[in-house]
């Protein structure tokens, strides 16, 4: 029996719905904190209780630690689930929970702090003998950067130590460009994170993004739930995720998953987390990239192939229970693909398209899952991200999954706002994608040029 009986959900949109679905199935009551813009959202209708935590702007609502804690205490919740984004990776929320006698459904603050600093994480991982991308420690100025870049070999990537979401990240092809781009990267990092520390990595040009889902509990049990392949990206934003990866051999899988468990073990990790790696397709070598200390947007692909419920496990672990299954009990079955359906117009450089949805008819059928908060008549507010739904399909193999995805996309009717559905339909017919012959720059360098 879980020690949690009422969960305060500190998020919105599809992930709020997802968390509350898990709570319902576990017989746990839910309280949802909403901004003014989300008062009448689908998630709000679903919650046992709703409180308005502030105006639409996230800085005055979803990002306020004190308000969230006060709201959770005032409504008698005993735990807070942060979802992803917003406060999910702010150690301050976990600390405030601990000080207020609330349970934070996520890793310990020190886990978040340690792994959130990319340079610290890189050092920890290196000590464990897990390969990291050839590159530097911190570089303090342009001269040092040039020296390092030449040692590592051009092209290089400049990255912010505090980074995330592509901010402060610059690709440098030639030494001549380094000065300007180094200054730009520092300035961006300072603006985005208040921390202008930059480090350098060798750029792997033919790369895939491979990540491993892990779960860990306070009893020292750690399991992995295999990998996800999130190589299909645009501007460092994931668009399609699938599992298993068509580019990972059994041998490679064993290595990556073992490394991921080792990292989680070393930092005494608790709850759900993801180890991200870069796979160099030319060298057949993987490198540690970073660790995400939250439930991820793309967690459903893992759930589809393993049959495990990651959000329920998060709640169980946070409530003091052990993981409900052992490593031996986790097997991969079939192939799952997820498309992130956004309210964006691909033809206009993916310009966001908020507004009223007049008709919303998601696909249904065998092997189809839709995680969404949308409905006919829903007004997509302009204050938040543009994710409308995650369409996830499962097939016996990758070929069947791509066919099913194509047909599910064709069944998906959304009117009133522009969506990325037609973009994905076109992708599902692309020979390179179907053969799995892509890398993290393929969408921008090849596909979008033809689209």
């Amino acid at each position: 029996m879980s020690g949690i009986s009422k969960v305060f959900v500190a998020n919105r949109g599809e992930i709020a719905v997802r968390i509350m679905t898990a709570c319902r199935e576990m017989g746990i009551e839910t309280v949802l904190g909403v901004s003014e813009a989300d008062r009448d959202s689908f998630a709000a209708r679903m919650a046992d209780r709703v409180v308005c935590i502030g105006p639409a702007q996230p800085l005055q609502s979803y990002l306020r630690v004190e308000t969230i804690i006060t709201a959770a205490l005032g409504t008698g919740a005993d735990a807070i689930h942060p979802g992803y984004g917003f406060l999910a990776e702010q150690p301050e929320l976990g600390e405030a929970c601990a000080n207020s006698g609330l349970i934070f459904i996520g890793p310990k603050p020190e886990n978040i702090r340690k792994m959130g600093d990319k340079l610290v994480a890189r050092e920890i991982v290196k000590e464990l003998g897990v390969p990291v991308i050839p590159g530097s420690e911190l570089v303090h100025d342009f001269e040092e950067a040039l020296l390092m870049a030449e040692k590592v070999g051009f092209p290089v990537l400049l990255k912010a130590a505090a980074g995330g979401g592509g901010k402060g990240m610059k690709m440098v092809k030639r030494p001549d460009d380094l000065k300007t781009l180094f200054e730009e990267a520092s300035a961006e990092a300072r603006a985005a994170f208040g921390d202008d520390r930059i480090y350098i990595e060798h750029l792997i040009s033919n790369a895939r993004h491979i990540e491993v889902q892990i779960l860990a509990d306070r009893f020292g049990n750690i399991v992995h739930l295999f990998e996800r392949d999130c190589s299909l990206q645009r501007r460092y934003q994931k668009m399609i995720e699938e599992a298993p990866s068509p580019a990972v051999s059994d041998d490679m899988r064993e290595k990556i998953c073992k490394a991921a468990v080792g990292i989680a073990d070393h930092v005494k990790y608790e709850n759900a987390g993801t180890i991200e790696t870069v796979l160099d397709q030319d060298q057949g070598q993987f490198y540690f990239l970073e660790m995400n200390t939250r439930i991820q947007v793309e967690h459903p692909v893992t759930e589809m192939i393993t049959g495990k419920d990651l959000v329920k496990e998060q709640i169980r672990i946070a409530g003091g229970e052990p993981i409900s299954f052992a490593q031996e009990a986790i097997a991969m079955k079939g192939h799952a693909i997820e498309c992130r359906i956004n309210a964006e117009l691909p033809e206009a450089d993916f310009r966001p398209s908020p507004g009223g949805i007049t008709d919303w008819r998601p696909p249904e059928g065998n092997g189809i899952r839709v995680d969404s908060h949308c409905y006919s008549g829903y007004f997509v507010p302009p204050y938040y991200d543009s994710l409308l739904a995650k369409l996830i399909v499962k097939g016996d193999d990758r070929f069947q999954a791509t066919e099913r995805m194509g047909s599910a996309l064709a069944q998906f009717t959304v009117t009133g706002v522009d969506t990325t559905i037609p973009f994905y339909q076109s992708l599902m017919k692309n020979p390179d994608y179907l053969k799995g012959k892509i890398n993290t720059r393929w969408v921008e360098e090849v596909f979008l040029k033809e689209y």
Binding site: G54, A56, T67, T70, G377
Partner: protein, 178 residues
Amino acid sequence: MGFFDQDDIIQILKIVGESKIDELHLEMGDLKLITKKTSAAKIEEREPIPERPSEVAVQQEAETQEATPVPTAKIEEMQPVSEAEGEGLTPIKASLLGTFYRAPKPGAPPFVEEGQAVTEDDTVCIIEVMKLFNTTKAGVRGYIRKICAEDGQLVEFNQILFLVEEAADEEMSGEERV
């Protein structure tokens, strides 16, 4: 165009009303919705005033066949009008979520009682967010007619805390007028 009903329009008006948008032109199929906020209805930070109905014009093009008729008058009728305004009272709303306290400290007399006269700068309550005490001013001049929140309870953002019967300067005696 059969997908757009009155609830949807009310929903849109509500979102526009609560946002900083002053004017919205929306066209969907045969329906055209233009909403404008009157300048008086702009929300001022320090002086909570009731939301006034937006000026709404709903134009429907003649060719509409299957569309649900959306008569203009009906829409206007259904605009959000706060209960308070219906009774001619002005609400004082919570500027943030927190714990509502009627008195400066436990056991002390409350800042205001029902029937008491208040002016704009009078403190009417405290809202606590994690040991931070935020005083709330009346923001209006008049008589407290109703206390709508319970001492020590959680109040939401924008929740109505008090209802005030506004009074002009010369009418105010400063005494209680129960």
